[in-house]
Amino acid sequence: MTASYAPIGQSVSRLPSRASRAAPLLVVAVLLFAWWGAIRLSGTHIFPGPWDVVLGTVALAREGVLARHIAASLMRVAVGYLGAVAIAVPLGIAMGWNRSLHRALNPVVQMLRPISPIAWIPLAILWFGVGNASPIFLIFLSSFFPMVVGTIAGVHAVERQYLRAAENFGITGMKLLRYVVLPGAMAQIVTGMRIGLGVAWLVVVAAEMVAIDSGLGYLIIDSRNAGNRYDLVVAAMVIIGVIGFALDLVMRRIERIDSVRWRYVR
Protein backbone atom coordinates (compact mmCIF):
# COMPACT_ATOMS: atom_id res chain seq x y z
CA MET A 1 0.00 0.00 0.00
CA THR A 2 2.91 2.32 0.61
CA ALA A 3 3.63 2.38 -3.09
CA SER A 4 0.44 4.40 -3.62
CA TYR A 5 1.97 7.51 -2.01
CA ALA A 6 3.83 9.93 -4.17
CA PRO A 7 6.84 11.42 -2.41
CA ILE A 8 5.47 14.83 -1.49
CA GLY A 9 7.84 17.73 -1.89
CA GLN A 10 10.15 15.79 -4.15
CA SER A 11 10.08 15.65 -7.88
CA VAL A 12 9.10 12.22 -9.10
CA SER A 13 12.22 10.65 -10.56
CA ARG A 14 11.98 10.31 -14.31
CA LEU A 15 11.98 6.89 -15.88
CA PRO A 16 15.15 6.24 -17.85
CA SER A 17 14.71 7.03 -21.50
CA ARG A 18 15.11 4.34 -24.14
CA ALA A 19 18.50 5.80 -25.09
CA SER A 20 19.85 5.78 -21.56
CA ARG A 21 18.61 2.22 -21.04
CA ALA A 22 20.45 1.17 -24.20
CA ALA A 23 23.68 2.94 -23.18
CA PRO A 24 25.17 0.03 -21.13
CA LEU A 25 24.52 -2.36 -24.02
CA LEU A 26 26.22 0.06 -26.37
CA VAL A 27 29.28 0.25 -24.09
CA VAL A 28 29.49 -3.57 -24.01
CA ALA A 29 29.17 -3.67 -27.81
CA VAL A 30 31.99 -1.11 -28.23
CA LEU A 31 34.25 -3.06 -25.85
CA LEU A 32 33.55 -6.34 -27.68
CA PHE A 33 34.30 -4.66 -30.98
CA ALA A 34 37.55 -3.20 -29.62
CA TRP A 35 38.53 -6.63 -28.29
CA TRP A 36 37.75 -8.27 -31.64
CA GLY A 37 39.64 -5.50 -33.50
CA ALA A 38 42.70 -5.84 -31.25
CA ILE A 39 42.83 -9.60 -31.85
CA ARG A 40 42.56 -9.10 -35.64
CA LEU A 41 45.19 -6.37 -35.71
CA SER A 42 47.68 -8.18 -33.50
CA GLY A 43 47.21 -11.51 -35.31
CA THR A 44 47.62 -13.40 -32.02
CA HIS A 45 46.84 -17.11 -31.95
CA ILE A 46 47.04 -17.49 -28.16
CA PHE A 47 44.61 -14.90 -26.92
CA PRO A 48 40.99 -15.71 -27.87
CA GLY A 49 38.52 -13.42 -29.57
CA PRO A 50 34.95 -12.87 -28.28
CA TRP A 51 33.51 -15.59 -30.50
CA ASP A 52 36.09 -18.17 -29.29
CA VAL A 53 35.00 -17.38 -25.74
CA VAL A 54 31.34 -17.87 -26.62
CA LEU A 55 32.14 -21.24 -28.21
CA GLY A 56 34.25 -22.24 -25.20
CA THR A 57 31.43 -21.29 -22.81
CA VAL A 58 28.87 -23.26 -24.82
CA ALA A 59 31.18 -26.30 -24.86
CA LEU A 60 31.65 -26.12 -21.09
CA ALA A 61 27.94 -25.71 -20.55
CA ARG A 62 27.11 -28.68 -22.80
CA GLU A 63 29.49 -30.95 -20.91
CA GLY A 64 27.87 -29.90 -17.62
CA VAL A 65 31.27 -28.75 -16.34
CA LEU A 66 30.26 -25.13 -16.09
CA ALA A 67 27.22 -25.71 -13.89
CA ARG A 68 29.28 -27.92 -11.56
CA HIS A 69 31.99 -25.27 -11.13
CA ILE A 70 29.50 -22.41 -10.67
CA ALA A 71 27.57 -24.43 -8.07
CA ALA A 72 30.79 -25.26 -6.20
CA SER A 73 31.84 -21.60 -6.04
CA LEU A 74 28.38 -20.38 -5.06
CA MET A 75 28.10 -23.00 -2.34
CA ARG A 76 31.43 -21.91 -0.82
CA VAL A 77 30.46 -18.24 -0.97
CA ALA A 78 27.02 -18.94 0.53
CA VAL A 79 28.39 -20.90 3.50
CA GLY A 80 31.34 -18.58 4.21
CA TYR A 81 29.41 -15.36 3.64
CA LEU A 82 26.26 -16.29 5.56
CA GLY A 83 28.42 -17.55 8.43
CA ALA A 84 30.17 -14.17 8.45
CA VAL A 85 26.83 -12.29 8.38
CA ALA A 86 25.57 -14.37 11.32
CA ILE A 87 28.55 -13.40 13.46
CA ALA A 88 29.67 -10.01 12.11
CA VAL A 89 26.33 -8.20 12.29
CA PRO A 90 25.45 -9.08 15.92
CA LEU A 91 29.09 -8.46 16.93
CA GLY A 92 29.10 -5.11 15.11
CA ILE A 93 25.87 -4.08 16.85
CA ALA A 94 27.28 -5.09 20.23
CA MET A 95 30.56 -3.25 19.57
CA GLY A 96 28.77 -0.17 18.25
CA TRP A 97 26.43 -0.04 21.21
CA ASN A 98 28.75 -0.99 24.07
CA ARG A 99 31.68 1.37 24.47
CA SER A 100 33.71 -0.99 26.67
CA LEU A 101 33.35 -3.85 24.21
CA HIS A 102 34.34 -1.53 21.38
CA ARG A 103 37.41 -0.36 23.29
CA ALA A 104 38.41 -3.97 23.98
CA LEU A 105 37.86 -5.47 20.51
CA ASN A 106 38.38 -2.62 18.07
CA PRO A 107 42.21 -2.68 18.05
CA VAL A 108 42.19 -6.38 17.13
CA VAL A 109 39.58 -5.82 14.42
CA GLN A 110 41.51 -2.88 12.98
CA MET A 111 44.74 -4.88 13.02
CA LEU A 112 43.30 -7.97 11.32
CA ARG A 113 41.19 -6.03 8.83
CA PRO A 114 43.96 -4.81 6.50
CA ILE A 115 45.54 -8.27 6.13
CA SER A 116 44.66 -9.53 2.66
CA PRO A 117 42.61 -12.73 2.75
CA ILE A 118 45.13 -14.14 0.25
CA ALA A 119 47.79 -13.93 2.96
CA TRP A 120 45.74 -16.36 5.01
CA ILE A 121 45.84 -19.08 2.33
CA PRO A 122 48.88 -20.95 3.76
CA LEU A 123 47.41 -20.93 7.24
CA ALA A 124 43.98 -21.96 5.93
CA ILE A 125 45.51 -24.99 4.20
CA LEU A 126 47.53 -25.79 7.33
CA TRP A 127 44.46 -25.62 9.56
CA PHE A 128 41.72 -26.94 7.29
CA GLY A 129 43.50 -29.00 4.61
CA VAL A 130 42.69 -28.93 0.92
CA GLY A 131 38.92 -29.51 1.00
CA ASN A 132 36.05 -27.04 1.06
CA ALA A 133 36.82 -25.78 4.53
CA SER A 134 39.85 -23.70 3.47
CA PRO A 135 38.11 -21.51 0.87
CA ILE A 136 35.03 -21.23 3.08
CA PHE A 137 37.23 -20.01 5.91
CA LEU A 138 38.90 -17.47 3.60
CA ILE A 139 35.53 -16.21 2.38
CA PHE A 140 34.28 -15.97 5.95
CA LEU A 141 37.34 -13.96 6.92
CA SER A 142 37.27 -11.65 3.92
CA SER A 143 33.60 -10.71 4.27
CA PHE A 144 33.62 -10.64 8.07
CA PHE A 145 35.65 -7.45 8.57
CA PRO A 146 33.84 -5.12 6.13
CA MET A 147 30.56 -6.18 7.73
CA VAL A 148 31.74 -5.68 11.33
CA VAL A 149 33.15 -2.26 10.48
CA GLY A 150 30.02 -1.28 8.48
CA THR A 151 27.72 -2.36 11.30
CA ILE A 152 29.71 -0.51 13.98
CA ALA A 153 29.69 2.64 11.82
CA GLY A 154 25.96 2.19 11.25
CA VAL A 155 25.20 1.95 14.98
CA HIS A 156 27.37 4.99 15.68
CA ALA A 157 25.55 6.91 12.96
CA VAL A 158 22.07 6.38 14.43
CA GLU A 159 20.91 9.94 14.94
CA ARG A 160 20.71 11.17 18.50
CA GLN A 161 17.18 12.48 18.11
CA TYR A 162 15.84 8.94 17.57
CA LEU A 163 17.63 7.60 20.65
CA ARG A 164 16.35 10.53 22.70
CA ALA A 165 12.80 9.98 21.42
CA ALA A 166 13.01 6.30 22.36
CA GLU A 167 14.27 7.27 25.82
CA ASN A 168 11.44 9.79 26.15
CA PHE A 169 8.84 7.11 25.36
CA GLY A 170 10.46 4.67 27.79
CA ILE A 171 11.80 2.27 25.16
CA THR A 172 14.84 0.45 26.50
CA GLY A 173 16.82 -2.80 26.36
CA MET A 174 16.25 -5.28 23.56
CA LYS A 175 13.25 -3.36 22.24
CA LEU A 176 15.47 -0.32 21.75
CA LEU A 177 18.14 -2.38 20.01
CA ARG A 178 15.72 -4.35 17.84
CA TYR A 179 13.38 -1.57 16.74
CA VAL A 180 15.46 1.62 16.92
CA VAL A 181 19.20 0.93 16.78
CA LEU A 182 19.10 -1.93 14.25
CA PRO A 183 16.81 -0.22 11.71
CA GLY A 184 18.61 3.09 12.28
CA ALA A 185 21.87 1.37 11.35
CA MET A 186 20.38 -0.88 8.66
CA ALA A 187 21.39 1.16 5.62
CA GLN A 188 25.06 1.03 6.59
CA ILE A 189 24.78 -2.62 7.63
CA VAL A 190 23.45 -3.42 4.16
CA THR A 191 26.28 -1.40 2.58
CA GLY A 192 28.77 -3.44 4.65
CA MET A 193 27.01 -6.62 3.52
CA ARG A 194 27.27 -5.51 -0.11
CA ILE A 195 30.99 -4.85 0.24
CA GLY A 196 31.41 -8.14 2.11
CA LEU A 197 29.69 -10.10 -0.64
CA GLY A 198 31.80 -8.41 -3.32
CA VAL A 199 34.99 -9.28 -1.48
CA ALA A 200 33.76 -12.84 -0.83
CA TRP A 201 33.24 -13.36 -4.54
CA LEU A 202 36.71 -11.98 -5.27
CA VAL A 203 38.32 -14.26 -2.73
CA VAL A 204 36.54 -17.47 -3.69
CA VAL A 205 38.21 -17.37 -7.10
CA ALA A 206 41.67 -16.82 -5.58
CA ALA A 207 41.10 -19.52 -2.95
CA GLU A 208 39.98 -22.06 -5.54
CA MET A 209 43.18 -21.58 -7.50
CA VAL A 210 45.07 -23.29 -4.71
CA ALA A 211 44.71 -26.93 -3.74
CA ILE A 212 41.15 -27.59 -4.78
CA ASP A 213 39.58 -29.27 -7.83
CA SER A 214 36.30 -27.46 -8.41
CA GLY A 215 34.90 -23.97 -8.72
CA LEU A 216 35.44 -21.11 -11.16
CA GLY A 217 38.89 -20.30 -9.76
CA TYR A 218 39.96 -23.90 -10.36
CA LEU A 219 38.45 -23.75 -13.87
CA ILE A 220 40.67 -20.76 -14.72
CA ILE A 221 43.89 -22.28 -13.45
CA ASP A 222 43.07 -25.72 -14.88
CA SER A 223 42.25 -24.28 -18.32
CA ARG A 224 45.57 -22.53 -18.41
CA ASN A 225 47.57 -25.53 -17.17
CA ALA A 226 45.78 -28.07 -19.38
CA GLY A 227 46.87 -26.79 -22.79
CA ASN A 228 46.72 -23.02 -22.56
CA ARG A 229 42.96 -22.89 -23.15
CA TYR A 230 42.70 -19.12 -22.83
CA ASP A 231 39.22 -19.19 -24.37
CA LEU A 232 38.09 -21.08 -21.27
CA VAL A 233 40.12 -18.82 -18.97
CA VAL A 234 38.36 -15.74 -20.35
CA ALA A 235 34.99 -17.55 -20.38
CA ALA A 236 35.38 -18.27 -16.66
CA MET A 237 36.39 -14.63 -16.04
CA VAL A 238 33.30 -13.34 -17.85
CA ILE A 239 31.07 -15.72 -15.90
CA ILE A 240 32.66 -14.59 -12.62
CA GLY A 241 31.93 -10.98 -13.61
CA VAL A 242 28.32 -11.72 -14.56
CA ILE A 243 27.62 -13.63 -11.33
CA GLY A 244 29.27 -10.88 -9.26
CA PHE A 245 27.07 -8.32 -10.98
CA ALA A 246 23.96 -10.45 -10.33
CA LEU A 247 24.85 -10.84 -6.63
CA ASP A 248 25.24 -7.07 -6.33
CA LEU A 249 21.84 -6.57 -7.96
CA VAL A 250 20.31 -8.84 -5.32
CA MET A 251 21.92 -6.74 -2.55
CA ARG A 252 20.67 -3.55 -4.19
CA ARG A 253 17.14 -4.89 -4.03
CA ILE A 254 17.54 -5.14 -0.26
CA GLU A 255 18.38 -1.41 -0.23
CA ARG A 256 14.99 -0.73 -1.80
CA ILE A 257 13.02 -2.17 1.11
CA ASP A 258 11.12 0.74 2.75
CA SER A 259 12.69 0.18 6.16
CA VAL A 260 16.16 0.53 4.58
CA ARG A 261 15.37 2.99 1.80
CA TRP A 262 14.50 5.92 4.09
CA ARG A 263 18.21 6.62 4.50
CA TYR A 264 18.63 7.28 0.78
CA VAL A 265 15.56 9.40 0.16
CA ARG A 266 15.68 11.96 2.99
Binding site: M1, T2, Y5, A6, P7, I8, G9, Q161, Y162, R164, A165, E167, N168, F169, G170, I171, Y179, V180, P183, G184, M186, D258, S259, V260, R261, W262, R263, V265, R266
Partner: protein, 250 residues
Protein backbone atom coordinates in the same frame (compact mmCIF):
# COMPACT_ATOMS: atom_id res chain seq x y z
CA UNK B 1 -5.58 26.90 37.97
CA UNK B 2 -3.29 24.52 39.82
CA UNK B 3 0.46 24.62 39.34
CA UNK B 4 1.59 21.78 37.11
CA UNK B 5 5.23 22.48 36.33
CA UNK B 6 7.40 24.13 38.95
CA UNK B 7 10.95 25.36 38.38
CA UNK B 8 12.63 26.39 41.61
CA UNK B 9 16.02 28.13 41.78
CA UNK B 10 17.47 26.14 38.88
CA UNK B 11 21.17 26.60 38.04
CA UNK B 12 22.99 25.11 35.11
CA UNK B 13 26.50 25.67 33.76
CA UNK B 14 28.58 23.83 31.19
CA UNK B 15 32.21 23.04 31.89
CA UNK B 16 34.50 24.42 29.23
CA UNK B 17 38.18 23.69 28.76
CA UNK B 18 40.83 25.08 31.14
CA UNK B 19 38.43 25.01 34.06
CA UNK B 20 36.16 27.72 32.69
CA UNK B 21 32.40 27.42 32.98
CA UNK B 22 29.59 28.72 30.83
CA UNK B 23 26.69 29.81 33.01
CA UNK B 24 23.37 29.16 31.29
CA UNK B 25 20.85 29.41 34.11
CA UNK B 26 21.39 31.17 37.43
CA UNK B 27 18.54 30.65 39.84
CA UNK B 28 15.61 30.44 37.43
CA UNK B 29 12.11 30.34 38.92
CA UNK B 30 8.72 29.98 37.27
CA UNK B 31 5.67 27.83 37.21
CA UNK B 32 3.19 26.72 34.58
CA UNK B 33 -0.42 25.94 35.35
CA UNK B 34 -2.30 22.88 34.20
CA UNK B 35 -3.44 23.12 30.55
CA UNK B 36 -1.57 26.39 30.14
CA UNK B 37 0.54 27.14 27.07
CA UNK B 38 3.65 29.14 27.91
CA UNK B 39 5.89 30.43 25.14
CA UNK B 40 9.55 31.16 25.83
CA UNK B 41 10.90 33.89 23.58
CA UNK B 42 14.52 34.92 23.74
CA UNK B 43 17.66 35.63 21.76
CA UNK B 44 19.63 32.82 20.11
CA UNK B 45 21.91 30.94 22.45
CA UNK B 46 20.24 32.20 25.63
CA UNK B 47 19.71 28.66 26.89
CA UNK B 48 16.14 27.91 25.81
CA UNK B 49 17.02 24.44 24.50
CA UNK B 50 19.00 23.66 27.66
CA UNK B 51 15.99 24.70 29.70
CA UNK B 52 13.70 22.37 27.72
CA UNK B 53 16.21 19.54 28.16
CA UNK B 54 16.15 20.15 31.89
CA UNK B 55 12.36 20.29 32.02
CA UNK B 56 12.05 17.05 30.03
CA UNK B 57 14.69 15.32 32.18
CA UNK B 58 17.38 14.91 29.48
CA UNK B 59 19.75 16.94 31.65
CA UNK B 60 19.92 17.46 35.40
CA UNK B 61 20.23 20.90 36.98
CA UNK B 62 23.39 21.69 38.96
CA UNK B 63 21.20 23.13 41.69
CA UNK B 64 17.51 23.63 42.31
CA UNK B 65 14.54 21.47 41.46
CA UNK B 66 12.08 20.84 38.69
CA UNK B 67 8.86 19.08 39.49
CA UNK B 68 5.85 18.15 37.54
CA UNK B 69 2.48 17.29 39.02
CA UNK B 70 4.18 17.46 42.42
CA UNK B 71 6.79 14.81 41.48
CA UNK B 72 10.42 15.69 40.76
CA UNK B 73 11.65 15.28 37.17
CA UNK B 74 14.74 13.05 37.26
CA UNK B 75 14.86 11.45 33.85
CA UNK B 76 12.90 11.59 30.60
CA UNK B 77 9.59 9.81 30.75
CA UNK B 78 6.34 9.75 28.86
CA UNK B 79 4.64 12.17 31.25
CA UNK B 80 6.45 14.92 29.35
CA UNK B 81 7.19 14.53 25.64
CA UNK B 82 9.74 16.69 23.86
CA UNK B 83 9.11 17.70 20.24
CA UNK B 84 11.94 19.37 18.36
CA UNK B 85 12.38 21.18 15.08
CA UNK B 86 14.61 18.39 13.81
CA UNK B 87 11.84 15.85 14.23
CA UNK B 88 12.23 12.39 15.65
CA UNK B 89 9.53 10.19 14.15
CA UNK B 90 11.23 6.94 13.24
CA UNK B 91 11.79 7.08 9.47
CA UNK B 92 11.90 3.29 9.15
CA UNK B 93 8.36 2.91 10.48
CA UNK B 94 5.05 3.77 8.88
CA UNK B 95 2.87 6.49 10.44
CA UNK B 96 0.73 3.81 12.07
CA UNK B 97 3.69 1.87 13.40
CA UNK B 98 5.31 5.03 14.79
CA UNK B 99 2.30 5.45 17.05
CA UNK B 100 1.68 1.81 18.02
CA UNK B 101 5.37 1.33 18.78
CA UNK B 102 5.43 3.92 21.57
CA UNK B 103 2.26 2.58 23.20
CA UNK B 104 3.99 0.30 25.67
CA UNK B 105 1.71 -1.45 28.09
CA UNK B 106 -1.55 -0.47 26.36
CA UNK B 107 -3.78 -3.50 25.70
CA UNK B 108 -3.79 -4.57 22.06
CA UNK B 109 -7.53 -3.93 21.58
CA UNK B 110 -7.29 -0.32 22.80
CA UNK B 111 -4.14 0.39 20.88
CA UNK B 112 -5.66 0.46 17.37
CA UNK B 113 -8.56 2.68 18.48
CA UNK B 114 -6.24 5.12 20.16
CA UNK B 115 -3.82 5.30 17.22
CA UNK B 116 -6.69 5.77 14.78
CA UNK B 117 -8.13 8.57 16.93
CA UNK B 118 -4.88 10.54 17.06
CA UNK B 119 -4.03 10.08 13.39
CA UNK B 120 -7.51 11.34 12.62
CA UNK B 121 -7.11 14.23 15.04
CA UNK B 122 -4.05 15.48 13.16
CA UNK B 123 -5.61 14.77 9.76
CA UNK B 124 -3.37 11.87 8.77
CA UNK B 125 -6.03 9.15 8.65
CA UNK B 126 -5.43 8.68 4.91
CA UNK B 127 -1.70 8.22 5.45
CA UNK B 128 -1.57 5.46 8.03
CA UNK B 129 0.71 3.28 5.92
CA UNK B 130 2.88 6.11 4.63
CA UNK B 131 6.51 6.29 5.67
CA UNK B 132 7.84 9.63 6.95
CA UNK B 133 9.86 10.22 3.77
CA UNK B 134 6.60 10.12 1.84
CA UNK B 135 5.09 12.97 3.89
CA UNK B 136 5.47 16.72 3.51
CA UNK B 137 7.12 18.86 6.23
CA UNK B 138 3.78 19.93 7.71
CA UNK B 139 2.45 16.37 7.71
CA UNK B 140 5.63 15.19 9.42
CA UNK B 141 5.16 17.72 12.21
CA UNK B 142 1.56 16.59 12.60
CA UNK B 143 2.74 12.97 12.83
CA UNK B 144 5.26 14.07 15.45
CA UNK B 145 2.45 15.69 17.40
CA UNK B 146 0.17 12.65 17.06
CA UNK B 147 2.94 10.37 18.33
CA UNK B 148 3.49 12.65 21.31
CA UNK B 149 -0.24 12.86 22.11
CA UNK B 150 -0.96 9.14 21.71
CA UNK B 151 0.84 8.34 24.97
CA UNK B 152 -1.39 10.93 26.67
CA UNK B 153 1.41 12.97 28.21
CA UNK B 154 0.71 15.51 30.89
CA UNK B 155 2.99 18.10 29.31
CA UNK B 156 4.41 18.85 25.88
CA UNK B 157 7.80 20.51 25.46
CA UNK B 158 8.10 21.99 22.00
CA UNK B 159 11.42 23.34 20.74
CA UNK B 160 10.82 25.42 17.61
CA UNK B 161 8.42 22.72 16.38
CA UNK B 162 7.44 24.60 13.23
CA UNK B 163 10.83 26.22 12.66
CA UNK B 164 11.76 24.16 9.62
CA UNK B 165 8.50 24.80 7.77
CA UNK B 166 7.85 27.41 5.12
CA UNK B 167 5.91 30.54 6.14
CA UNK B 168 2.54 29.39 4.79
CA UNK B 169 2.77 25.93 6.33
CA UNK B 170 3.80 27.50 9.64
CA UNK B 171 0.63 29.59 9.66
CA UNK B 172 -1.46 26.54 8.85
CA UNK B 173 0.27 24.51 11.57
CA UNK B 174 -0.48 27.18 14.16
CA UNK B 175 -4.20 26.96 13.38
CA UNK B 176 -4.01 23.16 13.31
CA UNK B 177 -2.25 23.14 16.65
CA UNK B 178 -4.92 25.38 18.19
CA UNK B 179 -7.63 23.12 16.80
CA UNK B 180 -5.92 20.05 18.26
CA UNK B 181 -5.47 21.82 21.59
CA UNK B 182 -9.22 22.31 21.86
CA UNK B 183 -9.51 18.50 22.18
CA UNK B 184 -6.17 17.82 23.86
CA UNK B 185 -5.27 20.79 26.06
CA UNK B 186 -1.98 19.46 27.44
CA UNK B 187 0.19 21.76 29.49
CA UNK B 188 2.69 23.05 26.95
CA UNK B 189 6.02 24.85 27.05
CA UNK B 190 6.83 26.21 23.61
CA UNK B 191 10.25 27.59 22.71
CA UNK B 192 10.19 29.86 19.69
CA UNK B 193 12.18 32.59 17.97
CA UNK B 194 9.03 33.78 16.33
CA UNK B 195 7.25 36.45 18.36
CA UNK B 196 4.17 36.18 16.09
CA UNK B 197 3.97 32.47 16.86
CA UNK B 198 4.22 33.13 20.59
CA UNK B 199 1.44 35.73 20.43
CA UNK B 200 -0.75 33.51 18.23
CA UNK B 201 -0.54 30.50 20.53
CA UNK B 202 0.45 31.32 24.09
CA UNK B 203 -1.53 32.03 27.23
CA UNK B 204 1.59 33.62 28.68
CA UNK B 205 4.85 34.66 27.05
CA UNK B 206 8.12 34.63 28.99
CA UNK B 207 10.53 37.13 27.48
CA UNK B 208 14.05 35.91 28.19
CA UNK B 209 17.37 37.70 28.49
CA UNK B 210 20.69 36.72 26.98
CA UNK B 211 22.81 34.07 28.76
CA UNK B 212 22.76 33.54 31.73
CA UNK B 213 19.06 33.41 31.13
CA UNK B 214 16.55 35.23 33.28
CA UNK B 215 12.94 36.11 32.69
CA UNK B 216 12.75 39.81 31.73
CA UNK B 217 8.99 39.94 31.63
CA UNK B 218 5.97 37.68 31.73
CA UNK B 219 3.18 38.77 29.40
CA UNK B 220 -0.32 37.43 29.75
CA UNK B 221 -1.96 37.31 26.32
CA UNK B 222 -5.62 38.11 26.80
CA UNK B 223 -6.84 37.75 23.24
CA UNK B 224 -9.36 35.26 21.93
CA UNK B 225 -8.40 32.63 19.35
CA UNK B 226 -7.79 32.71 16.46
CA UNK B 227 -5.61 35.77 16.94
CA UNK B 228 -4.91 38.13 14.10
CA UNK B 229 -1.45 39.64 13.93
CA UNK B 230 -3.10 42.75 12.43
CA UNK B 231 -5.03 43.27 15.69
CA UNK B 232 -3.70 46.50 17.28
CA UNK B 233 -3.21 44.66 20.59
CA UNK B 234 -1.05 42.04 18.86
CA UNK B 235 0.94 44.72 17.04
CA UNK B 236 1.57 46.64 20.27
CA UNK B 237 2.51 43.45 22.12
CA UNK B 238 4.90 42.38 19.38
CA UNK B 239 6.57 45.82 19.36
CA UNK B 240 7.06 45.79 23.11
CA UNK B 241 8.53 42.27 23.09
CA UNK B 242 10.86 43.09 20.19
CA UNK B 243 11.97 46.20 22.12
CA UNK B 244 12.79 44.08 25.11
CA UNK B 245 14.72 41.64 22.97
CA UNK B 246 16.68 44.52 21.48
CA UNK B 247 15.41 43.83 17.96
CA UNK B 248 13.81 47.31 17.72
CA UNK B 249 15.42 50.45 19.08
CA UNK B 250 13.78 53.84 19.70
Amino acid sequence: MSVDLAVRDVWKAYRLDQGRALAVLEGLNFSVAQHELVALVGPSGCGKTTLLDLLAGFQRPDRGSISFGGRPVERPDRRGILITQKGSVFPWMSAWRNLTFVLNGVPERDRADRVRYYLELVGLHDFVDAFPHQLSGGMLQRLELARALVVRPEVLYMDEPFGSLDALTRLRMRLEFLRIRRDEPETTVLVTHDVDEAIALADRIFVLSERPMRIIRIVEVRMEHPRSMADPRAVALKDSILHELGAIRD
